[in-house]
Symmetry: C2
Subunit: 369 residues, 2 copies
């Protein structure tokens, strides 16, 4: 179900064959937290060229809930997206959003961030919810903790996550074209990462995620962690760096052999007026763009970035118009997708390093920041 | 520039030839207050089939302002909409939004609702702002007052509006394909409406609007007012009922000979979860739709109404997702446009009364409210 089609040093191009279609890697997956990528229609996602999105198990478990998802035969039919979906396990949002009540060996008790109602998530419930979502790639339930919680807590969370990974695998509802990924934890500690990788691979999964990064440790430490984590992962399985990241994070991680990414950045930034372009980020909220007739990026093949002026987008942001979020999110997702297309192309042509140099030079070429 | 192409009793089909293209009447114009129809892209407007939208002079005067609009060569280029635009004069929003400071014979002093900054609007400034917007149809500046302010106030406002209408005509920047409309005032009083109509026609305009309705007087009184106002308007000029209305208002007004409408209803309702359909309105916020797998209207040729389930739209509303506003606004605008297409078709076939009966029967046919 995963085939490597090209290699350039540590970087690789691959194909994921999934129940809802084929996905080329390296790939960026837009985040569709509550059954929609925020301010973006599925038509726009397809027009940009995305073949896979992420859904959040935590949110969909709370609302609309498994009953409605089963009734619709899954999230694809519910939201009218007919391409692959990856779901996280819910673990991360329990830590970051809900009022955590109690972590037990069997699972987690927590209060919904919506109405305070009590819920329980365990490996088998997470697998059941992901089955009701009908996603192409399921993630094992893991315990996420903040990066600065100290070694013994990180080790403890890692060990519990390994237990949950085993339980998740047992409860995983197998289907043709459906994959289950394990998650390697261990913070930024080389020894813990190695241990976690070895034990996770021992359990055996269709792909391996690197969890517990992009939680405040910074770009350099993240890359260092990738450097000693990735060599422990099997070559022939897809590698997914969860919740990452900036364009620079993506470029450097692809170079190190990561195949899959997801991040709220392009859409969240879009809602706040920050545009990602080949020149770097442009804060369209800035007053200096109020009468700037230039398109966001006139050479872009994004029909928004090359057509709408910075002045107009600035006006929409200042006027608090929904269209600002719609257009700038589209610009950003288009940029993220183009970046991955460029990287795939460069890997196939064995000139990834040169391409990355060129991309980084462009980020610094124009003073529009 | 206005040609009547078909008649059915008082109702008519016509063509408006404007600088940015041809518009078939009767027509509904979506409201693009601040340089965008809320939560709707221009691509979606075109896909639905709209050929004209409304822009608000008051809002665009305050932001982005005439300087930027002139720099862009008008609102069309600023917002990338290449079809006709009608602009109101700003009078209505000064009454409803701003802190009104002083009405003088020459104009109105007011404070911006955005930042309290002092502005002045007069017939010549309104004409200048509308010229900077570059709209195809300009409206004369009028004094709008609430409907329950009493006869003498209504008469006073009407007389000031007539003075301003003359001044507006003098300051109107003529261009090929650009029209200036007068506005008939006079509340719901037959005598005042007749007087206002006669004097407005005396000044002479390319089209005539009926102002001061849909301000709380109710459906029946509005229709009664149309009944005694429209016979005073010249047959050969377009008639525009400002700020109206519900589908029922539209149907009844077309029947009485109105050619043009604008209203925030379809987009405002869309942002609040209310869908307009051939069955009537559906409040998708209602809990009973939470697991309703039916599309909003499976027979509709609107690709949103016929595809997305009530359950999914309900979920998006409850989850406060921007996509809810995007999709339901599109459903509503599509319905409004379809309704006008149906009415035009029926007028051409001389069976408007039957069509209206059929439409009204449908509104009551299904219990989805």
């Amino acid at each position: 179900m995963f085939k490597i089609t090209a290699k350039d040093r540590y970087a690789r191009c691959g194909q994921l064959d999934l129940a809802h279609g084929m996905v080329e890697t390296p790939v960026f997956m837009p985040v569709g937290t509550q059954g929609t990528v925020k301010a973006i229609s599925v038509d726009t996602l397809k027009k940009i060229g995305f073949n896979i999105i992420l859904g959040n198990t935590y949110h969909l478990y709370l609302r609309p809930g498994t009953e409605i998802l089963y009734k619709f035969g899954g999230l694809n039919n519910f939201m009218k997206w007919d391409r692959p979906i990856l779901t996280d396990s819910g673990g991360f949002q329990i830590m970051s959003l809900s009022k955590l009540m109690k972590i037990e060996e069997g699972g987690v008790r927590f209060q919904s961030h919506i109405d305070g109602k009590e819920f329980y998530l365990s490996p088998d419930i997470s697998m059941k919810v992901q089955d009701s979502i009908g996603s192409d790639i399921h993630m094992v339930l893991d315990q996420c903790i903040e990066f600065d919680k100290g070694m013994s807590n990180i080790r403890e969370a890692m060990n519990l996550s390994l237990k949950w990974a085993e339980m998740s695998k047992k409860c995983f509802v197998k289907k043709k074209g459906r994959m289950l990924f394990g998650i390697v934890q261990g913070g930024t500690d080389q020894h813990l990462r190695e241990q976690s990788a070895i034990k996770t691979i021992d359990i055996g999964f269709d792909g391996y995620a690197i969890g517990g990064l992009a939680v405040g440790e910074g770009h350099e430490l993240m890359l260092k962690t990738l450097d000693f984590t990735i060599p422990n992962l099997p070559d022939e399985r897809p590698r997914y760096l969860m919740g990452v990241g900036t364009p620079e994070d993506l470029v450097e991680s692809v170079k190190r052999g990561v195949d899959m990414f997801d991040c709220v950045m392009p859409t969240r930034a879009g809602r706040h007026g920050l545009a990602y372009t080949k020149f770097g980020t442009i804060n369209l909220r800035n007053a200096k763009f109020s009468d700037d007739m230039m398109p966001v990026d006139e050479e872009s093949d994004c029909p928004i970035a090359s057509v709408y002026s910075r002045s107009y987008l600035h006006h929409l942001i200042k006027s608090k118009e929904i269209l600002a979020a719609m257009l700038i999110s589209e610009i950003n997702l288009h940029y993220y997708n183009s970046l991955m297309i460029d990287l795939r192309f460069a890997i196939r042509e064995n000139r990834l390093d040169l391409k990355i140099q060129e991309i980084k030079k462009n980020w610094r070429s124009v003073d529009v920041l």
